[in-house]
Symmetry: C2
Subunit: 127 residues, 2 copies
DNA sequence: TATTGCTTTAGAGCGCACTCCAAGGTATAC
DNA sequence: GTATACCTTGGAGTGCGCTCTAAAGCAATA
């Protein structure tokens, strides 16, 4: 017997707003959630992992459009594992690329910070 | 004597669209550009470095709002170097944070990719 | 002189990813 | 019963960062 939780509880667990949870369901990122007799959503514990993975994809810059592609494949079952892997691999390459770019730009920004420090020292000497 | 260039040339050099160049000027990220007798913009070579630095800030996820703050400080001259350094240092911390998060999420995604590979192998054996 | 291709402006439009609202139903506590 | 705190929906609104349009003027070439 799986524990159920309300949308507010799930929002708190998954670190998303209730608005976002409903939005994700509406656009098909999440399959229709079970309802109780009053029509309230009843999230299952098993939904947590999926929402967390979605959040990971978002945090790493995947667009909702691509997340949707992934979600659709996932819903189609085991036949799509190759395609899903390829999608993730493409995303991984993008992340790696962006990390490289970040690293480089970080170095330039650090260089600039050091220049400012020098300028500050000179201002102190003159002042 | 500095070389001048048109907005289209600058767009090509800076890797931004002419729309974006005008937009950046309009919102004050870039100070009013010199004009020739016909009212056309004449970018100076010295504008390139600033536009490239702005692009670096954007690429590293700084909001236009914060870039504007930085630009305003810069326009106020040497008196603001400390504040500018602090702003960049705060931004650097954010970049470092995001890189850490990317690194972690990348690991999870890689883990998932490897799981898919295993599944694929099993499917092949059974198939 | 006409065409093509650049430039100008104010202002509108767009795509994204939410975020919120109004109007109503349900659950719990007092 | 009633207060309040949650839940539902469709649809509108928001903030961001551009991106484009219309209407006009300027420049270079045939």
């Amino acid at each position: 017997m799986e524990r159920k939780c309300t949308i507010a509880q799930m929002a708190s667990i998954a670190g998303l707003s209730v608005h976002t949870l409903r939005y994700y369901e509406r656009i098909g990122l999440v399959q229709p959630v079970q309802r109780n007799s009053s029509g309230y959503r009843e999230y299952a514990e098993s939904d947590i992992a999926w929402l967390e993975f979605l959040t990971r994809l978002r945090l790493t810059g995947m667009s909702i459009r691509d997340m949707k592609r992934y979600a659709v494949l996932r819903n189609q079952g085991p036949a799509t594992v190759i395609e899903r892997r390829q999608l993730l691999e493409a995303h991984r390459r993008e992340i790696e690329c962006r990390m490289e770019s970040l690293k480089h730009n970080l170095a330039v920004i650090t260089y600039k910070i050091d220049l400012y420090k020098k300028t500050e020292e000179e201002q102190n000497e003159r002042g």
